[in-house]
Chain length 223, copies 4
DNA sequence: GTATAATCGAGACGGTACGTCCCGTCTTAGT
DNA sequence: ACTAAGACGGGACGTACCGTCTCGATTATAC
């Protein structure tokens, strides 16, 4: 876990860094589960270290020993839940139809955002990142990073088949496609629907000058 | 102020609403100024009602009487500062060159985000909105609403001169242009530069399929 | 009312003393009644000027204008209730049998102390007097004073018929008879019963060396 | 300390009682000392938990954890100071001359009441007891109880040598001797002097019918 | 009969203290 | 050694009242 202060294989004698080898895995899981559950029940504002410790049946010090902040605990909690099934991050679908694949992914994201069980912790994590640069770094490395790479992979694949220009700035592209979604989610400036996801993909791919007009086909492709 | 609980001149029978007519304007301004200054100095996490009251030379109850939460105070503080000069929201520049005008505006926004004096309170407000639906409504009505309308006005003007399709979904358009900026600002997923602002405008107008290709000029115009 | 800051007939021009002539009698009675009722309902500790004002349907300033303290209000409230029936203080019974008369009075006092409706306000007033010398003076002049005089009158009558020595210190005598009762009431150091009242009268009159022995008659007289 | 909520070594299942074994003795003493000092400096009315905590260099919760009320703190403070020298309560002097011994004790009490350093806290405690039955119970068990027993011991000694009747109600006797003193102290209904102490002893022992007569000696003994 | 001036109800204000929650540190036992 | 437990000094919460200070709106003399 990147937010944890591990000693890199044991730690030397006069080391204030805790010895990760002796760490209780049961407590770790109990803490993360408790944190994830609690943030869904009472919200991030009312989430407290004491509450997590009590729910997890754990001493407060056990939390303070391994995590630097409430946000870091939540981060690992989200990370645990996100990676529970497989080991690595799944790749985006690649059927050859870029717009369709992106639409599929964005519609799935819209669904996730609609489920409070996932939305609440994620929202909390998102806003915590905005205030905590250290957490933002962890986020960039361990959560957003791999996901963004997967997104870029799909775009590279599109470049290979000529669906996207070769000199496209992929980071800009990812932001153009997913940025509006995140912004609308966090600020609630509009409805988060499948229709929005589809229109967003079309507009991002074809631009405002030529996209999203009714009468044009759903793939957003200009003929 | 939309976050304040005004009684509409008299108040109905069983009304716990304070009498807005007797409200002290001096205290109101002192509180908002103190809140704005403090959030810049100590950050939102360490911003406290007690701190605001002490700085403003005001009793805590005077804050609790007129605002429901710390976020609401900050909201009004930002609103006051935002509207201090003129009365209404300024319109976007309209030189006839849509891409240039948008670039100008986004570059200015990038500059604002780079100034901690404005960035810190705005960031705090942004994340508070994510958790507080009541605040989000105020935001939609009094801060984002007018600004979004100004943005749409500029886009409508572009529609009138044929720069944008007549059937364009303007809310989608606004999100496509400004969403990536906000997302990158909040999540720090990439550098916030003038170059990014320009590339974003180009990509949004022309789409990923047709943007940022060599040989095309920086305005993002297709020939 | 001795605790009120009257201007002695009108008050001169630049006088901050309120003009008692213009005083609202209705408000005064409402305040005293509210104070008396409230102290019985919530106890003296939770009795507040705001509470009295609200219950009496009166502005807070009206209380602060006429009384210097919470205790002073309560004092007048008790005084009002105590003097409601007649105008002056009633004399003690005088049948010629001192012990019997005193026993009657003390038994009545015991009954009063047992009734929370009178006991609570009185207890509050009693303890307030212990801390507030100004209130103690009012108490001495207007409540305890007349009562003590009545008690001394009865003792003087006994002196006249030879039941008590002519050179008896009457203040000491009053304290010896009523002091133990008050002390036991305030400190709850023992049961407050009619039996105690009788035994107290006997012991006070005849002394510990010769009093309160079973087999002697209830009047406490030695044969 | 009787006002503290001890868990008897371990505590039973559903126990919200703090673990007395881990209690900080230093904090306890600092709190009691601060309370005692403050009540002498500012009076009981202005004595606050916050003030005690600040003076003692202690968190407020540490006070709320171990004492249920401001009065309970003061009670323990008085108790600590009262018992500081020896372990148990000192016995009353017993020279064989009851009146002389009682006079000595009462004169000493009069002196204590005259010293604000002791009088103020005691007065506060006394009035607090009048309102708080729980505190009254503690008082009866730990402060008044042992003292009253010592008083009764002296009276029993007098009974043994024939100075007092064998069937005397000792509780009544104690109240008759000390009650007038306490009453006059709390209500300030008369001067608290050595002369009063002596006259009180004489009157209590010999009764109003036979006391304070000229020709009788100051010891209050009847010939 | 009107001025005119004080009191009245109401309640906002700058404050103090309340009793609670939680912070992050530290200590003690137990495994 | 790490753990569960939780006491500790501290900071802030949101509430209740304090006593002071305006506000109109009644009154009740004094012109």
């Amino acid at each position: 876990m990147s937010t944890e202060r591990n000693s890199p294989a044991g730690g030397t004698a006069r080391d204030r860094t805790p010895n990760a080898a002796r760490r209780s895995e049961a407590s770790r899981r109990a803490i993360l589960t408790a944190a994830f559950d609690l943030v869904g029940e009472v919200g991030y504002a009312r989430l407290s270290i004491e509450g997590i410790a009590a729910r997890a049946g754990v001493g407060k010090q056990t939390i303070y020993r391994w995590w630097p902040s409430k946000g870091a605990v939540l981060f690992d909690a989200v990370l645990m839940l996100a990676q529970d099934p497989g080991g690595g991050t799944a790749a985006l679908p690649d059927t050859g139809d870029l717009a369709a694949d992106l639409g599929l992914v964005l519609r799935a994201t819209v669904d996730e955002f609609a489920d409070p069980r996932f939305s609440e912790p994620l929202r909390a994590l998102s806003t915590e990142i905005a205030h905590d640069p250290a957490l933002a770094r962890s986020y960039a490395e361990r959560l957003d990073g791999p996901l963004r790479e997967a997104k870029k992979d799909r775009l590279r694949s599109a470049q290979r088949v000529g669906d996207l220009p070769e000199d496209l700035d992929l980071d800009l592209a990812v932001d153009l496609i997913w940025g509006p979604l995140t912004a609308r989610w966090l600020h609630r400036t509009g409805p988060l629907t499948h229709a929005f996801a589809d229109a967003l993909v079309a507009a991002a791919l074809d631009g405002l000058r030529g996209a999203a007009a009714p009468g044009r086909d759903g793939t957003g492709r200009r003929e």
